[in-house]
């Protein structure tokens, strides 16, 4: 058995290492699949953002690309009417709990949600789902960065960076369902927690939830 396999993504023949996840194979070959929560090093991906759906020949339902290992002779289509519908709904649900004041956001023009919207022709607007009314207090206690939970998409990139890159364990998910939020032990401000302010979480944030204060547009 060789270490490499060949497969087809969007009518293109692609070589990939055996055991790799489909999402990363596609991205390495410049084939775009929307994603927020995917982490390459993660053994068992959460698949919680529900955006990386693709069609695989032989499967009667779209599957998440981040959890699927590539196989020899696999035939994949990244777009179909069913995939687009799932991604659109998932995206709109994410937006229903997202602060859409992009012009005030430090991640404006450098935001994963904007990329997804552009690539898939989706609108950054509340349309089908009424926005959730959650109130958050801005946590600007750290010296160089701040955390605005109204922009958080709960992807888990920051908690991963905190846990496995910085090896600190200051932040995590708490509560359940609609109240779910990323926070510190006992909901303390970041500066009062065990956070070392290494800023790896800020670099990991795909949106403008964790941001450098210097990037803030007043």
């Amino acid at each position: 058995m060789s270490d490499y396999i060949t497969m087809i993504i969007d009518d293109r023949e692609v070589k990939a290492r055996r055991g790799e996840k489909l999402l990363w194979v596609a991205l390495d070959n410049d084939i775009y699949i929307p994603h927020l929560c995917a982490i390459k090093e993660e053994k068992r991906p959460n698949a919680s953002c529900r955006l990386c759906f693709v069609e695989i020949e032989g499967h009667n339902q779209p599957v998440t690309a981040c959890t699927r290992e590539v196989e020899e002779g696999m035939v994949v289509a990244t777009r179909s009417s069913r995939v687009d519908r799932l991604v659109k709904t998932g995206f709109e649900l994410l937006l229903s709990d997202h602060n859409l004041k992009c012009r005030e956001c430090p991640a404006n023009k450098n935001c994963s949600l904007q990329v997804i919207a552009k690539k898939r022709g989706l609108k950054l607007k509340h349309h089908r789902f009424n926005p959730l009314k959650r109130e958050f207090k801005l946590d600007d206690s750290p010296a160089e960065f701040a955390f605005d939970r109204s922009r958080c998409v709960l992807c888990g990139q920051c908690t991963w960076a905190d846990r496995f890159e910085a090896e600190v364990g200051a932040i995590g998910f708490t509560n359940r369902g609609i109240d779910r939020v990323v926070t510190t032990f006992n909901d303390l401000p970041l500066a009062d927690s065990i956070c070392t302010e290494c800023k790896l979480c800020v670099d990991a944030c795909p949106v403008g939830a964790l941001y450098y204060k210097k990037d803030q547009n007043a």
């Binding site: 998910f173 926070t183 065990i194």
Partner: protein
């Protein structure tokens, strides 16, 4: 929530005891939390912190788990425990309005305890007497058809009890042992 005098020692002793009885593995986390809650009535931040230390996991992981499950409470049970039913029948007949009235009158949110620990407010799924909806349970006694006016009546009784208590012991005995 501020800890009362002597409570800190009680918590530390309790956590130490429970950790001693269980092997400190990740699988035992929920049983450990349950045992601590059974002894203390709730899970104070200090206890969560010490359990995290014992199991060598980040404290925020414990906090995450405790806030996920309904069976764990973060605030001490009050002297009077008020539970408002949010089952289907109670919800449809205005259980949320009842809960809101309690929250407003007590000045606390659902799941919290008043600062003097006189009363605590919680929601429950179904008490089993849907014909009386909306239902509230005050110290194991079921109150049916609880309208906001009835909430005022219930609160009046609780406030009277609090005043009687205040005469007995003058001055708050809340110590500044906050961790």
């Amino acid at each position: 929530m501020q800890l009362l005098k002597g409570e800190k020692e009680e918590i530390l002793a309790c956590v130490k005891e429970v950790l001693g009885e269980n092997s400190k593995t990740h699988e035992n986390l929920i049983p450990i939390l349950q045992q601590v809650q059974k002894k203390l009535g709730y899970l104070p931040a200090l206890a969560m912190d010490k359990i995290a230390e014992g199991l060598k996991v980040p404290a925020v992981d414990i906090f995450s788990l405790v806030t996920f499950y309904n069976q764990f409470r973060l605030n001490p049970p009050g002297k009077h425990e008020i539970k408002v039913c949010m089952g289907t029948a109670c919800y449809m007949t205005g259980g949320d309005i009842t809960l809101e009235s309690f929250e407003r009158r007590m000045g606390i949110n659902e799941g919290e305890t008043s600062l003097d620990r006189h009363y605590s407010l919680d929601r429950v799924a179904c008490v089993g007497c849907c014909t009386l909806a909306p239902v509230a349970v005050i110290d194991d006694e079921v109150e049916g058809k609880v309208t906001p006016t009835r909430v005022d009546g219930i609160m009046l009784a609780l406030e009277e009890d609090r005043e009687d208590n205040a005469i007995e012991k003058s001055g708050p005995k809340v110590g500044a042992e906050d961790e």
